[in-house]
Symmetry: C2
Subunit: 362 residues, 2 copies
């Protein structure tokens, strides 16, 4: 009812179609020029109080809502920030987005969130779409190792911050967690517990995080005077998902010598592996020790509680957003790389929660 009144009011002057009320309508109703109405919005101090009130009143009465598109066309800012990540359904990324959102919403930005689902094609399409939308900035975890698309984008004037990914010499800001160190933490932990055959369920090495964690793990083996080629059973899966983790268990159990410990590239995989092992009647950590990566919210509550490598998810997103803000703030900006340290959280699944803290190689 009151709704109808509203829309009739808005529609009164234009044709039958529910045409949008423009600033021109506002001006007309307030009996001022278009420019003055605009000034009320963008430069309120410059217009006399009585006029301003008339305009404000007209805005309220017409239900005027300024068009960002038109604004953008003049001013050059879209008030949007693109967020392009691997998988929104992964709590790790979701949490990160929330961090970014929290710092950006107060500055008037809205996020365009896109999941590439680890498909380079999808990523390319979204990158294109975001550029068409002229996002004021981009926070992204690229699928592809090759960052030239992103560098080009940045060169074309879209400030880009890499999320959980190194800039690799290109002039980009980035926020990362030391994944080599994280991989090392996980592997060292298992090694210190006496495991000499450790499976590493990893995603595609084209994903930097996966490659880095692997490198860290190898490092750990070498530090322990173990040959990674023998001690580390590498199993690569196409996606970092629960399903893939569950599916991989078969291969895991078939491999000879059979691993007594498993580390996974993320907690979703670990969850899948855990589910698979449980289904197969394998005791965790009794027969197989398990370590995940990310320490997502549920890791602590799994059965058994999942040992994992914690990453400061929310802070990662927030820092990325702040780097973006810094870059667009106007003052000259040096591309920076913010690096967070991961942290091993030992719980039951690795069987290491009862042992004393072990000193790890640095």
């Amino acid at each position: 009812m009151s709704v109808c009144a509203d829309c009739q009011a808005a529609d009164s002057s234009p044709a039958l179609r529910n045409a949008r009320v423009t600033i021109r309508d506002v001006a007309r109703l307030a009996g001022v020029s278009l420019g003055t109405a605009s000034n009320v919005l963008n430069n309120p101090t410059v217009v006399a109080a009585p006029t301003r009130l008339r305009v404000l009143d007209a805005i309220a009465r017409t239900g005027f809502v300024r068009s960002t598109a038109a604004h953008q066309l003049r001013v050059g800012r879209s008030l949007t920030v693109g967020v392009l990540l691997l998988d929104l359904a992964n709590p790790f990324f979701a949490e990160m987005v929330k961090g970014a959102e929290a710092v950006l919403r107060d500055k008037g930005y809205v996020l365009m969130v896109c999941s590439s689902d680890e498909s380079p094609d999808q990523e390319r399409r979204y990158l294109r779409a975001l550029e068409e939308h002229r996002v004021d900035g981009l926070l992204t975890t690229p699928v592809e190792r090759d960052l030239k698309d992103l560098a080009a984008l940045a060169a074309r004037g879209i400030p880009t911050v890499l999320l959980d990914r190194d800039a690799g010499g290109l002039g980009l800001c980035s926020v990362t967690v030391d994944d080599v160190r994280g991989g090392e933490l996980a592997a060292s932990h298992l090694i210190a517990l006496g495991h000499t055959v450790v499976a590493f369920v990893n995603g595609p090495l084209s994903i930097r995080q996966c490659a880095d964690r692997r490198q860290g793990a190898r490092q750990a083996f070498r530090h322990a005077s173990l040959r990674p080629e023998r001690a580390m059973v590498e199993i690569t899966v196409p996606a970092l998902s629960v399903e893939q983790g569950e599916k991989v268990v078969e291969r895991l159990l078939a491999s000879i010598p059979r691993p007594t410990a498993v580390m996974c590239a993320n907690d979703l995989l670990a969850l899948g592996v855990l589910r698979g092992l449980t289904a197969a009647g394998i005791a965790v950590p009794g027969e197989v020790a398990l370590v995940g990566y990310d320490d997502v919210a549920f890791a602590a509550m799994l059965s058994p509680a999942l040992s994992s490598v914690r990453q400061p998810k929310y802070e990662l997103g927030a820092s990325a957003a702040m780097l973006f803000l810094e870059e667009v703030s106007g003052e000259e900006h040096e591309h920076r790389s913010v690096r967070f340290e991961p942290e091993l959280v030992v719980r039951a699944s690795s069987g290491g929660d009862k042992t004393t803290a072990i000193s790890l190689p640095t």
Copy 2:
């Protein structure tokens, strides 16, 4: 390097600032008029093959990327869809967004994702921002029970689909899961297991889902000839989060008579409660049975595995997106309400996984 070549090419005509290459630049380079260049994009068949190729070539050489904003100003479509939900970090919503994204991305839409964090204020601000951006549609789980803001938005020409929320007579599409039924399923299950004092850890009743689940639970008690006022210990928390769940345990244990079972308004709360109970040394389901709601990915793997009420999250999002598409497809559209049925998933935490299936009142 090739990057630099590109941007120099683009920058050659305009000033020193990295000005965007426009369709006018493309036209100039191709030696055609602006209109023809535009036709190549929007009406390719109408332009002669050789000309078209020249233009296409110019587009490639300049790295032209069309501006959605300008496009929108003419055509009236922003190619964006707003998604405004309670909390992106809640896997339930994240999964739903992915469902929506999957159907919308192929149609060229990008999602503007916003978390209201259950704050009416935040919600209002985002609603405003999304309207300024002229989203072509809105998929939303409102915080407020009062939908008049949304109805007004829809009346102003933004097709709105309610996510997991009834339209309540207003002319809006909606996708819902029968929450009354879900609450009934959870409560009936616990009642059937012999519990006569059941705590219901619920969120604010201003959230429809919370109110509905409560109603369903009360219904279940009455069906079992129990008085809800006595058998059901209601505890309301301000947010549906793990933290709140954990915090609530104290009150839970202090209440007299002490509940032997707990049902929660979502799995995050249940996870918190489980964590709290475990910390307090209370056996689940031995001393207290527990049922969650949503059946998020990790529910099955908790310790003990969490009984929960499953909702088709992904499908919910996908259907909402499809309703939106239907609405904008042009053919006259009747607002529809798609309703999904929830499903009780019995696992260890309720202590009901060993009993035979129980017939529940319908």
